[in-house]
């Protein structure tokens, strides 16, 4: 079976006044059709840039190397192939619903233009399809919304519009980059529920990016943990929650509040800072913050190794 998305040795660097900062470092991953994968990691670990590279949306000063294949077709090197699928078969929504819609265009126009461009339908027909899609993402009074401007909608509504927009051409893969981070907690849960519903309905693949394991946990079948531009662990969600192998994953899990933790106790948070991007590492990037780090960790960088259920990159993993 051809994976829907196959990333091979993808590196993304940013050129800043002559120096190259590596944001994503030799990352590989495969996504089966209609699989839901969660990507977690601290801020700055390269989650966003990895998929920006896939979408061809990197900043001007960025350099991407490696290969990204979508439905078997190379889209990192071949921009024409990317143009054919971007926004139709391969869609992405972003972390900032409040600023991600064009302020001076009505919602109806912003939705319809996708269909007009990709499917060549008339504006009239496009608006009709858009209307039904708004209904499908449970936006109340969808007819009225078509004539409204983004600032007339709440943050949650705007994210629903973004989701509707991404679904218009029936994508086979949706990349959702922290779709709930900017929203209220109750709205967050609703958006996650909506993503779950539309994923089933459209039988599409979903990449759910978040820095919060708890957000990803309920939805993703498989979870990838990123640290300092690399994948440090990858495992089926249940397995990862039950038996984290990488100490970083274990530490992240300890930060999730549970119903059993005593009220009013402070949640543990991860001590220390992630390494500055661009630091050349002949060591495990996590070693300075790792309770299990030994001499070898500061000398030799651990490679991803296959484990029973997934992969991890650690010399001294947590025991099963």
């Amino acid at each position: 079976m051809i994976p829907i998305l196959q990333i091979e040795a993808l590196s993304v660097g940013f050129l800043n006044s002559g120096a190259m900062n590596q944001a994503v470092d030799q990352v590989s991953l495969r996504l089966a059709p209609s699989e839901c994968v969660g990507i977690v990691g601290e801020s700055g670990s390269g989650k966003t840039q990895m998929f920006m590279a896939a979408m061809g949306l990197l900043a001007k000063n960025a350099v991407a190397r490696g290969s990204v294949r979508f439905e078997g077709q190379e889209i990192l090197a071949q921009k024409s192939a990317l143009r054919r699928v971007r926004g139709s078969k391969l869609a992405m929504i972003f972390q900032d619903p409040l600023t991600s819609l064009t302020p001076h265009l009505k919602i109806g126009v912003q939705l319809a233009e996708v269909l007009v461009h990709h499917n060549g339908v008339s504006w009239h027909e496009a608006r009709y399809i858009a209307l039904r899609m708004l209904d499908q993402v449970q936006i109340p009074e969808p007819k009225r919304r078509l004539h409204e401007y983004p600032h007339e909608l709440s943050g949650g509504m705007r994210q629903r519009v973004m989701i509707a927009m991404s679904l218009l051409c029936r994508p086979s893969l949706l990349i959702a980059d922290e779709p709930t981070t900017a929203l209220d907690v109750t709205v967050q849960a609703q958006i996650i529920e909506l993503l779950r519903a539309v994923r089933e309905e459209f039988a599409m693949g979903l990449v759910l990016i978040s820095h919060d394991l708890a957000v990803v946990g309920g939805l993703a079948q498989r979870i990838l943990v990123m640290y300092a531009g690399r994948i440090v662990e990858s495992a089926p969600a249940e397995e990862l929650f039950r038996h984290p192998r990488h100490p970083y994953t274990a530490a992240l899990l300890k930060c999730i509040p549970s119903v059993f933790s005593a009220p009013r106790t402070r949640l543990p948070s991860l001590a220390g800072q992630p390494p500055r991007i661009g630091e050349k590492l002949d060591a495990c990037a996590f070693a300075p913050r790792c309770p299990r780090a030994a001499e070898r960790c500061r000398r030799e960088r651990p490679q991803l190794q296959v484990a029973a259920a997934g992969e991890f990159a650690c010399h001294y993993p947590e025991e099963l």
């Binding site: 949306l57 971007r86 972003f94 819609l101 064009t102 001076h104 996708v114 461009h117 600032h151």
Partner: protein, 306 residues
């Protein structure tokens, strides 16, 4: 929005009154009068003239009389061009100046905006650098240098266009003055557009538009251009004001029968009514333009509307 528009319209009347009042008293406070000339008039003639124009009255009653005549749309007689009323003088020259100004501002917008956009899209390339260098030149070199230079080049050497002079409805006679007049605002608009375009192209909603797979031309024209024009809209009133003062220079160099020259001549001659008439015309134009710009804002950014 409509309510707001009419409120602004009503507020324009006191603004105009204040401008007229300030100009009136400043003019009269300046030393000398309209009938002080090289050849000194006999005192009795001087006094007669003063009386017939009402200049012997106390300043407050002169002011009152002027306002009263304004209420009937009468700008009064010119003190210098004795056979003409101010209304006649302005009515004669206004079409020339207006045509000149409108073409100049349209040219400045029509070329400045695309040029700035192009420079922004080719940020840090030679096209960008060339455009911006030209823009600096356009802003820095004064009109009274540009126009004679253009005249020399296209008129004297190439014989393409007349250097100066005026024929009714002749585009050829307007060409060089219009170009000279449009150049500084054009350069400024190009720079403004480039700057705001660069900023907008980094906005999240532009990222969304690209993620939707829209072609670059659609992203720029439909999504980026309108918000990028906000600073240009703000510059519109100063731009027209600078074209008004510029037309004064251009008209006198190119010998065009517009009204630009009246402002300076009138002020030097202490032609009180002529200057006041000019001030009223120009202020009214600028105030109406300000209202238009408010409407423009609402179109550019619906968040402004209420």
């Amino acid at each position: 929005m409509i309510r707001y528009f009419f409120l602004r319209l009503a507020a324009a009347v006191p603004t105009l009154l204040m401008i007229v009042t300030a100009t009136f008293f400043l003019m009269h406070a300046a030393p000398g009068g309209p009938f002080d000339q090289e050849q000194v008039l006999a005192p009795e003639i001087q006094a007669n003239l003063q009386r017939s124009y009402g200049l012997d009255l106390p300043i407050w009653s002169q002011y009152g009389r002027y306002l009263a005549s304004l209420r009937h749309g009468d700008f009064g007689p010119s003190f210098k061009y004795k056979d003409f009323t101010v209304t006649e003088l302005i009515a004669q020259g206004f079409p020339v100046t207006f045509t000149l100004g409108v073409i100049a501002i349209l040219l400045a917008l029509g070329i400045g905006i695309p040029l700035g956009t192009l420079a922004a899209l080719h940020h840090n390339t030679s096209l960008d650098h060339a455009t911006m260098s030209l823009a600096v030149l356009g802003i820095a070199v004064p009109t009274f240098v540009v126009l004679p230079f253009l005249g020399l080049l296209f008129g004297v050497y190439l014989h393409w266009l007349p250097v100066a002079g005026w024929e009714a409805r002749s585009i050829r006679h307007l060409a060089l003055p219009v170009i000279a007049l449009a150049l500084p605002p054009l350069a400024y608009i190009a720079r403004l557009t480039r700057g705001s375009m660069l900023e907008i192209m980094g906005a999240h909603f532009i990222r969304t538009a690209f993620a939707k797979g829209l072609p670059a031309s659609t992203v720029i024209l439909r999504h980026a251009l309108r918000p990028a024009l906000m600073p240009v809209a703000s510059y519109l009133v100063p731009a027209v004001a600078s074209i008004m003062t510029g037309s004064l220079v251009v008209e006198s160099i190119a010998g065009l029968p517009g009204i630009g020259r009246y402002l300076v001549q009138g002020a030097l001659n202490r032609d009180y009514t002529l200057v006041l008439g000019m001030v009223i015309i120009y202020s009214t134009l600028l105030i109406s333009l300000g209202l238009l710009v408010d409407l423009l804002y609402a179109w550019l950014d619906p968040r402004v509307r209420r």
